[in-house]
């Protein structure tokens, strides 16, 4: 049987992940079909009801990609319930009667390159360590450039003069990066597109509303899950700051931890698990940088964030930052969310006018 590798979706990161897996293993790699309502229906049908919603999206992704012929599935892991995803999902899928191999790449808290190399060496016995490290670095760089471009776009997309000009540019950018091997070529391409991006016409009034998005990682990075929250904010001409992205999670987070711990001393004695502490820090950061409001997103029942919310509320009210909390699961209605966002926009707008 021909081997086909696949993995679940999270935002647009399937581009670098697919490229990395394909080039290191030499095995056909496909991404799961794009998330639709069918994905989440399948996922919730076979998941425990109390599982958090990313679990259900992931499972739906797996089922759809298995139907498309994939037989090797990849999963990562993290510092919360995410750590159990791999085992539970594997069991559920095996119980459903699918035949496949399940590989968890990151099982522990820290990334250990040797362990990951051994996993890929098993898939591709000819893989040399130097080539692997080169690919790993180039993928990390790819992810970093993707996040950097996203960051630049997030500040501008609400004010574009010609509709879809940023999305078009980003698609071209991803296309070129997908077909580039060398690290230097990647950097060159990034610079080229950064230059192009900064030339795209925008009409940005001086006193625009600025909103920070904080919260759990999946709801931050997967737009489908939050009914395209960022797009909705852009339609209201709001400038967006989002902290969580893969670059942050892969290495920035660990580097920043001692600093964040020091900065949040007033509120937290210990770390809160997952991104809890980071989110408390972000409230203070957003205040310092004159943002107008904060939107906190999480899946319903996300334990680390539930632990962090009272502290975040306290930090926000101490600093007089308006904040709303949005919870998402497979039953959340988009209408209810639209009402809350619209009201939040009105709140920020009248507040800003009053201060002026």
């Amino acid at each position: 049987m021909k081997k086909i590798i696949s993995f679940p979706h999270i935002g647009q990161y399937y581009h670098p992940i697919k490229k990395f897996v394909k080039r290191t293993t030499n095995i056909k790699t496909i991404e799961s079909p794009f998330i639709t309502k069918k994905t989440i229906e399948l996922g919730s049908k076979y998941s425990p009801d109390s599982a958090c919603v990313p679990f259900k999206y992931n499972l739906g992704n797996y089922i759809e990609t298995l139907e498309n012929g994939a037989n090797i599935l990849l999963q990562a892991g993290g510092g919360c319930r995410y750590r159990y995803y791999a085992e539970v999902q594997e069991t559920i899928l095996k119980d459903l009667g699918y035949d496949f191999k399940f590989i968890q790449i990151i099982g522990k808290d820290h990334l250990r390159i040797n362990e990951i190399f051994n996993i890929f060496k098993e898939l591709n016995p000819k893989l040399s360590k130097i080539y692997f490290i080169h690919e790993l670095l180039s993928t990390l760089l790819y992810i970093k450039y993707l996040d950097d471009i996203d960051e630049l776009i997030r500040h501008r997309i609400g004010f574009e003069v010609y509709k879809n000009s940023f999305i078009k540019l980003k698609n071209d950018f991803l296309n070129e990066l997908d077909n580039t091997g060398g690290i230097f070529k990647l950097t060159y391409l990034y610079m080229k597109y950064e230059h192009k991006l900064k030339k795209i016409k925008i009409k940005k009034p001086k006193n625009t509303l600025k909103v920070g998005i904080i919260g759990e990682l999946y709801t931050a990075m997967e737009p489908f899950c939050t009914y395209e929250l960022e797009k909705m904010l852009a339609q209201y001409n709001i400038e967006i700051k989002r902290f969580t992205n893969l670059t942050y999670l892969l290495w920035k987070k660990a580097l920043l931890r001692p600093y964040i711990k020091r900065k949040t001393k007033k509120y937290c004695k210990y770390t809160l698990g997952a991104d809890g502490l980071d989110n408390v820090y972000r409230v203070l950061w957003l205040k310092k940088h004159n943002y107008d409001g904060i939107i906190h997103t999480k899946p319903t029942g996300c334990t680390p964030e539930i632990g962090a919310i009272p502290i975040i509320m306290r930090a926000a009210s101490d600093n007089k930052m308006p904040i709303i909390f949005l919870s998402f699961d497979e039953q959340t209605s988009s209408e209810g969310m639209k009402t809350r966002i619209e009201a939040f926009y009105d709140l920020l707008n009248t507040r800003k006018e009053k201060i002026k």
Binding site: P33, T36, K37, K38, T39, E228, T300, P310, M313, S317, P322, I323, I324, S327, E335, G336, T339, R340, E342, A343, D346, L347, T350, R351, K354
Partner: protein, 315 residues
């Protein structure tokens, strides 16, 4: 004279007001939605029309709010379609300038709005559960064989309110049945229910928020003096209710329409037109968006519900 129409189409009731240039209510109507917002709005418009018959008023702005705001807004050509939170805040502020907290309990949702110096600083809506809303009270009134309108006065007669488990609608109901079978007095149970609505609201919707007076209590449930008393007992603050408390959303949307610069004369003839809604599934990808098409006399007026441009329907 110029007038502005505000319509608030909620899950249970539909409210409409007409205000003049001084934000004074000159006509109002309040009826049950009965699961058919289009019919309810036609009825409300006819009501208003009758009240305005001998006055010389030209309506030049229409605002809608409530859960059916988009549908009805499209239908009657509103120049302001705004969410309930903003509408309630603006409506209330026009009557009570220094309000700090608005407690609103409606048929299916409840919300809290905190204000400071005349601007909204924080708000919350109930998320998962309908416990402690109007529909819960009205379904329990049927079980007890009492009119929901009489709930408040009966509750006031009670000297020892029964403790009713308030966390969840279903459990509250089974606890209620249990209490009835145990032989508790009806007025004590009703007072207990009113108390449970208030404590449920404070524990779920107002969770973690600082409630400061003046506090204004609105929405259909505010007509229930039993709940008002329960709030006063728990919060140990005076609770203000308004005889027009149920109209605040409609009033707010009328004011919002007045503030909007784009104005268009409105004619009551619209209630003679035939409106239809159609749900259609888009089959262009596995997402199967449900698209709602609104038709006026057989002509497409607007369509929504598609998540991407592929499902766009030309109107």
């Amino acid at each position: 004279m110029n007038g502005y129409l505000g319509v608030d189409i909620g899950s249970i009731s539909t409210k409409a007001v007409v205000i003049d240039d001084n934000k004074k209510i000159i006509a109002s109507s309040y009826i049950w939605t009965e699961g058919n917002p289009i019919k309810a709005v036609k009825k409300v418009l006819n009501n208003i029309k009758e009240q305005l018959e001998d006055k010389n008023i030209c309506i030049i702005g229409v605002g809608t709010t409530g859960s059916a705001r988009k549908l009805i807004g499209t239908m009657i050509g509103a120049n302001s379609i705004k969410n309930e939170i903003t509408a309630h805040a603006i409506g209330t502020l026009s009557l009570h300038k220094n309000v700090r907290t608005i407690i609103e309990i409606g048929g299916q949702d409840s919300k809290i709005i905190l204000l400071e110096d005349g601007i909204v600083t924080d708000y919350a809506m109930n998320t998962l559960c309908a416990a402690g809303t109007g529909s819960f009270l009205s379904s329990q009134s049927k079980r007890l064989g009492v009119n929901v309108e009489d709930f408040g006065t009966i509750a006031l007669e009670s000297k020892h309110p029964t403790n009713v488990a308030a966390r969840c609608t279903v459990f509250a109901e089974s606890d209620l049945v249990h209490k009835i079978q145990m032989g508790y007095k009806k007025e004590d149970i009703i007072a207990g229910l009113c108390y449970s609505v208030a404590s449920n609201y404070l524990n779920n919707v107002a969770k973690g928020k600082k409630i400061k007076s003046p506090i204004i209590f609105q929405g259909g449930v505010s007509k229930n003096i039993g709940v008002k008393k329960a709030f006063e007992q728990i919060l140990k603050e005076k609770i203000i209710t308004d005889e027009n408390g149920h109209l605040m959303g409609a009033l707010g949307s009328a004011i919002l329409s007045m503030n909007n610069k784009l104005k268009e004369p409105f004619s009551f003839k619209i209630s003679d037109s035939n409106f239809e809604t159609n749900a259609q599934e888009c089959n262009k990808c596995p997402n199967h968006c449900e698209i709602i098409i609104v038709k006026k006399d057989g002509k497409k007026l607007d369509a929504w519900g598609n998540r991407c441009d592929n499902g766009k329907i030309a109107t």
